[in-house]
Amino acid sequence: MSVGTPPVSGEILLQTTDLTKSFGGIRAVDHLTLTIARGELRCIIGPNGAGKSTLFSLLTGLHRADSGRILFRGEDITRLAPFRRVQKGICEKFQTTRIYRRLTVGQNLLIPRAMRGSENGQLKWALETLGLADEIDRPAGELYHSHQQWLEICLALATEPDLLLLDEPTAGMTPDETALTAQFVVDLNAHGVTVLVVEHDMAFVRYIARQVTVLHYGRIFAEGALAEIESDQDVRRIYLGEE
């Protein structure tokens, strides 16, 4: 296994080069070079503080990178305003669920900015699969925790993203709900959405991932197929050993 292997085939959707971001004295993301091909479903794992969420906030523009570049579909988006990145096709489901709790599910879904403005079959499918289609008139704050998480995924999907970022999408879910979420993410990927997932739950990762990137101290520690990663002694030591 080698570090930073480019994907074997396909068009490159996202490419970061030497991406760096520090907070205080800590380099959260350290000269990170990452390549994601269109259509990939990639899991990013790593111990706490490895820089996973920071990487996402650099990709969405919530934080500005100190140095390095982000290319999305070949275009430099490093300095682009966050809302423009959504319009280009990157959307994130945050780590802590952030939905509009006082609005109904249907009203929540009015808010995302849809790029193409046509019927979004994918969203309709997602709402039905996740059991939200029957909850359209319910205030989002009254939904079960898992449904709130799913609603936020649907909000992100409503922007019709090419690249969906999911930050711990199954946090706090029961095993059944985690399984449903995993199957949903796999199906979504099969629909053509490129997905990047940060997740701690290794059962979830095993279920969905083909390619895994291990972050450690803001750098890529290992990258490759899940089986290789799991058998790698160093990875076991820094990460899996903790489980």
Binding site: L62, R98, G106, L110, I111, P112, G117, S118, E119, A133
Partner: protein
């Protein structure tokens, strides 16, 4: 997702839900207000018109604060700017046909431009929520101080004097063709009723639209809304400017009513009033803001007989009491209590229970 698809998903496009009932009530109120012009005496009409002319300014703040989450003390400043600009233009174009209409447009546009420039700096800076009320308050104070020292002949444009502390006087009333909309006329009363109802209807359809929900989204979680693809900085500037334009409309109506404008109309105490009206009624409900504006204007008018300080003392007490005990507003809290009481009766219970959970029960 597309708006059409979203509408399909959503059974109730407007949270108030029952359009027929709404239009029936609205029709009765509008007919009552218009019909009153036939029976009310000149003094009563002129008074009521004076109360109603503040409605657009208050509704603008309701939109800005209640739906967009941005608190501003600037409404009085924009009211004053529009009034002064109107006075300058109308006074100089007094002999020109349609001159006062140009002046009205100029006043409202002037207020909107100042607001847009101000809004650009604060909203694109993405400042914390407390900075906007502070700086708008400073704007009001500075404008008041400035206008108060514009006494004397060196302060004039064309034939119009600024008037300093005593204010600008003899401002011509709005005039369309042969009709003059001066304070004690039925024409002015009808104009104010029409415009305030129109402002209400316009804002109601705005907040019921998709744009309105996006505004509520910026209020509840600005970052999430930004991260769902919206240029929220620009939207906030838009709403701030719209609110200022509505305050400008009130300012123009005010000078047309009383033919004068003075610095205290844009000063510290004046800046308070729209905030009191919106807070006491309930800033998330346009109806409540409408009602409380008229009611509190009437109350202040009654108290003013004893001296303005008593009116402002009571306003301060109302504001503090509302924030302590009815943070959602007194009218809105009463409406909710009433809904809760009726909830236990009849088949409508579930429906009311649902609408109560939604923001803006009374749109």
């Amino acid at each position: 997702m597309s708006p059409q698809a979203a509408k399909e998903l959503q059974q109730d496009p407007l949270p108030s839900g029952r359009p027929r009932a709404f239009w029936a009530v609205f029709g009765v109120v509008a007919a009552g207000l218009l019909g009153y012009s036939a029976v009310g005496d000149t003094f009563a009409l002129s008074n009521l018109a004076n109360f109603l002319l503040y409605v657009p300014m208050a509704l603008g703040l309701g939109l800005l604060w209640g739906y967009c989450g941005v608190l501003s003390f600037g409404q009085a400043a924009f009211f004053g700017i529009a009034g002064y600009v109107y006075g300058l233009i109308a006074g100089n174009l007094v002999d020109v046909a349609g001159g006062t209409l140009v002046a009205a447009a100029g006043g409202i546009v002037g207020a909107a431009l100042v607001a847009a420039a101000f809004g650009y700096f604060v909203f694109y800076g993405q400042v914390s929520g407390w900075i906007i009320p502070l700086l708008t308050l400073v704007l009001s104070l500075i404008l008041e101080t400035f206008m108060a020292q514009t006494a004397g002949y060196q302060w004039r444009i064309g034939r119009v004097l600024f008037g300093g502390y005593n204010g600008m006087t003899s401002i011509p009333s709005l005039r369309i063709g042969p009709v003059e909309f001066s304070g004690p006329t039925t024409a002015f009363y009808l104009l104010v009723v029409g415009l305030s109802l129109l402002a209400y209807l316009g804002l109601r359809s705005l907040v019921g639209s998709r744009y309105g929900f996006i505004l509520v989204g910026t209020r509840d979680d600005i970052e999430r809304t930004r991260m769902l693809g919206h240029n929220v900085d620009f939207m906030q500037v838009q709403v701030f400017t719209l609110a200022a334009a509505l305050a400008g409309l009130s300012g123009v109506l005010y000078v047309s009513w009383g033919n004068y404008m003075n610095p205290s109309n844009m000063g510290l105490l004046a800046a308070t009033l729209p905030v009191v009206w919106a807070a006491v009624g309930g800033r998330e409900s346009l109806v409540a803001v409408f009602l409380s504006t008229v009611a509190l204007r009437a109350l202040a008018d009654t108290l003013a007989v004893r001296g303005g300080e008593y009116a402002f003392l009571i306003m301060g007490g109302l504001l503090l009491g509302t924030m302590l005990f009815f943070p959602a507003g007194i009218v809105v809290s009463l409406a909710r209590a009433w809904q809760r009481r009726t909830q236990s009766f009849g088949p409508r219970a579930s429906r009311l229970a649902k609408s109560e959970r939604e923001p803006g029960v009374l749109k």
